[in-house]
């Protein structure tokens, strides 16, 4: 069948490029995810324990980001962010700097994910029984130790399904960076499709790669979920 012959030809010619695209996508996804988590944890703590000004600014951040399409945000932050940053560097006398697409992509996707992360984390932190935190304090633990030893283990089982979901979303959202011309998997696929003229086959291959990433991630998160819900089997079976 010509279909499979075309796919074989496509993979043998463009395989390395596609894998390079996948690597770029994953790099951005991992970086953005970690940045999103950091924003999420601090945002959630700020929303719960912060003063009114902090609470309100975080509320505006999460509401705005979650109501505006990712594509608009990516264009806006990608262009505006890189321009503002290089202007700032110019003003400080460092001369022109080029912000790498990788850094910009990670920053943009991380900033967007941070809004969703904040909500996931907030829900999980609020669900921690107060007594556990107080017990930690009464043992003389400092606030960092309480966070690290008590809050994180208590909230992870609740947060993990949401966090897994966010990871799947960010791996798929990396494809949006194709629109600003960043060479990740979707853009490389587009180039491969244009060069070989095997449009259908190229997008099917790309879809299969993304699907493989999703399926592998699902398995890994299932393992992680089993681990953090040790001794809480009722919770684990209640989740997705």
């Amino acid at each position: 069948m010509t279909f499979f012959a075309n796919i074989y030809e496509l993979i043998s010619e463009w395989g390395p490029n596609l894998m390079g695209g996948l690597a770029a996508s994953l790099q951005i996804a991992v970086g953005g995810y970690i940045l999103g988590l950091l924003i999420g944890v601090s945002g959630a703590l700020g929303k719960i324990y912060g003063g009114p000004v902090l609470k309100w600014s975080l509320e505006i951040y999460t509401t705005l980001i979650r109501a505006v399409p990712e594509l608009v945000l990516i264009l806006l932050l990608y262009f505006a962010g890189t321009q503002l940053l290089s202007q700032a560097f110019m003003a400080m006398g460092y001369g022109r700097v080029d912000i790498s697409g990788l850094a910009a992509g990670i920053a943009v996707l991380g900033f967007v994910q941070g809004a969703y992360s904040t909500e996931v984390m907030r829900g999980a932190i609020l669900a921690i029984p107060k007594g556990e935190v107080e017990a930690g304090a009464s043992f003389g633990m400092g606030s960092f130790k309480i966070f690290h030893r008590i809050m994180i283990p208590a909230m992870l089982p609740l947060a993990l399904p949401g966090l897994a979901n966010l990871w799947l979303i960010i791996t798929k959202d990396t494809a949006l960076l194709a629109v600003v011309g960043y060479e990740e998997l979707a853009l490389v696929t587009r180039q491969a499709a244009g060069a070989t003229r095997y449009y259908l086959e190229a997008y099917i291959v790309a879809g299969a790669i993304y699907l493989a990433v999703t399926l592998v991630s699902n398995q890994l998160f299932k393992l992680a979920e089993n681990r953090v819900t040790r001794g809480r089997k009722s919770l684990a079976s209640g989740g997705a």
Partner: protein, 232 residues
Amino acid sequence: MGEWYWLPDYGWRFVEGIWVTLELLGIALFFGFLLAIPIGLVQVTGPRWLGAIARGYCTMIRGTPLLIQLWLLYYGLGSLFPYFPELRNSFIWPILREAFPYAAFAFILSVAAYEGHIMRGAFASVPKGELEAARAMGMGRFTVLRRIWLPRAIQNVLPTLAGEAVLTLKSVPLASTITIFDVFGVGGIVRQETYRIYEPLIFVGFIYLLITAVLVVLFRWLENRVPSANRA
């Protein structure tokens, strides 16, 4: 705050863009939900092979970016049609040449998968006793579905469906990558013709905020009309 002199010139095009966006959203949500009902249902009650197909479909669509699906349909499938000369002369050829049907189709398929996944959980969450009671009252299987199972399932997941609707709205700008001029696409025209980068994007973002707000209010109104499972 920026320069907005271009806004009056493009006002009407933005209105058209909003219409295209709403049209795509409406079509996607309506037909997507119609497909989601059987997709969810067969995973709960249907023959095993049908459930497996539905589950595979959900996994496939939910596991790949919508952008890739869109390009697969428009560039991939669209590139095959010219090889069939019979199609060229048929009445559907004018439709196949437009970008809009491909976008609508892609969004419908996507909504069907995401909401199908939600509906599976919704159907499964309706207490068995209620369905058995309905059967005992002499309702046929289809009547049970129409009068008890489906309404109860929707009632449970209406807030989730509302969230899904907002997510769908936010994915409509992807259609602009296949030459459709939705709000985002019109913003792109302004950007190209006036060389203003931020103002059109901010304006598009603002329109989206408004549409999202309307959508949220609409669903809240719907939720209030449906007696909630907790209050009943």
